[in-house]
């Protein structure tokens, strides 16, 4: 009994760690977004307006979709897959941002709408995917309705802490040490790698979170 409880705690820790990483990645990318857009759209105050709007909007949608997705056969494997997809959708920022921003710059004269379009094109989809992870994590962690608020609270705590660290580490140090593209690729690799590890863990322990799901169903 004692031992199984401890094992479950490790698994929960793993989920919390993953949520922390997703929070870290979101803010790291958001901070770099200002740098990525500056060569084409400048550093006027509306650049940050565009970036923050797009990130908030896509996080909102991500929460919605992630929550919806978690209602149907939630599993650790799917959770890992979301990480891999998030990592992959970040790559166009490295590969296609220049020509994308160039064509938007040519098409839209007003740098307010230009920057809004560009940040939508580059960051909308990866941020939606990253946003989906939070409600999905809650789904995997909650075992009964009584602790759901506490689990959600812990999860917000951990992922927002990740966001805070992602912001400060990127802006204070990472940009001083690395190219922007290097940082984005590293985040992409990190997310994909964690996704793969998650799937391996899920395959190794097929009953890990399933049993809970079944318990939930029996409760309902």
């Amino acid at each position: 009994m004692q031992e199984s409880k401890k094992a479950i705690n490790y698994n929960n820790l793993f989920i919390y760690f993953l949520a922390f990483t997703s929070g870290f990645s979101i803010m790291c990318i958001e901070l770099l977004a200002g740098r990525i857009l500056a060569p084409f759209f400048g550093s006027s105050v509306h650049i940050w307006g565009s970036i923050i709007t797009v990130f908030m909007l896509s996080l909102a949608l991500g929460y919605l979709f992630g929550g919806k997705l978690s209602t149907r056969s939630a599993s650790l494997t799917r959770y890992g897959a979301i990480f891999i997809i998030a990592g992959l959708t970040l790559l166009p920022i490295v590969t296609s941002s220049t020509w994308l921003m160039e064509s938007i710059f040519l098409a839209v004269e007003d740098s307010r709408y230009g920057s809004l379009l560009a940040s939508t094109a580059l960051f909308f989809i990866p941020t939606i995917i990253l946003g989906m992870l939070s409600p999905y994590s809650v789904r995997l962690l909650v075992r009964n309705s009584n602790e759901s608020g506490q689990v959600a609270g812990k999860l917000y705590f951990v992922s927002t802490l990740g966001s805070a660290l992602g912001t400060i580490i990127t802006s204070f140090y990472l940009v001083l040490w690395f190219d922007i593209n290097t940082i984005v690729v590293s985040i992409s690799l990190l997310l994909s790698l964690l996704g793969c590890i998650t799937i391996v863990v899920a395959k190794a322990n097929p009953n890990l979170f399933k049993s809970k799901a079944q318990r939930d169903i029996s409760h309902a």
Partner: protein, 312 residues
Amino acid sequence: MLNSAGKLIYGLCFLLGVCIVNNAMAEVIHSERSLYRNILVEDKGDLRCLKFNVKSNKTRQSCLLKSQPQRLVFNYTKQLLTGLLVNPEPKRILIIGLGGGTMSNTLHQLLPDSYIDNVEIDESVIKVARQYFGFLENNQVKTYSQDGRVFVKRALLKKLKYDWIILDAFNGDYIPEHLMTKEYLQETKRLLSPQGILTANTFSSSKLYIYESATYKAVFGDYYQVSNPDNSNRIILARNNGLDENFYKEQAAVEQSESITQLAIKLLAIGVDAKQLYKNIKSTATHQDWPDDSPVLTDQFSPANLLNIDVD
């Protein structure tokens, strides 16, 4: 005893008087919070200064003497005029970073037939320049409220060319990061006419110095540097066509000759000694003061203001 007490009182009164006079001398006549910074206009006797963020001399952006508004106050603005020695008749001038608009006014006065485009990101700075610094605009002198980088990119699309580009965009600390990169300098270079020149106002006492120097060299090849030993500004003067072989001879000739050119007379009228300017010009081909392997700032890597922190 009485005498010394009297002296003491007299001394105290004098000190008090000095304090009062000093306080009366520096007077903030306008302050506002713009989207980008706090803007202060301060009068100190005859001197009026535009400052960003704090009330220290370090953040002075632009100054003028109210009684002689045409005279240049700052050494660096005088040094920027070195551009005229290399390219005496620029027809189209682009100034990025307006400040009080004193540079634009001076150039308009010196070159009444030239066209001057001023670019300034902050609308409030433009208003303050008009209201407190007599910034002059007309058919020849125009102002655009835009980010410098965006203006340059749009100007390239319109196939505009400038004979002289002056980079003087500063925020509270230093030059914004996206206005220091290799890519940005390449864009400004493409905006230059074949004989065009670029001058940039930079600081010489910073960790950033070597990065900036290397970046300019990567884009323009060797260039001229203008600095006075007594101030911390370094003017970068780059030609679109690289160094001018004849300029060195010209420099030597001016130093020896007694005659004064038309340009020198004009410059003297605004408080600038052309001979001194010639003297301070050094080519990086012969006077490179940074290591060859210094890193270049790019759009991918430009932690400019982080590097600048260690300065003082």
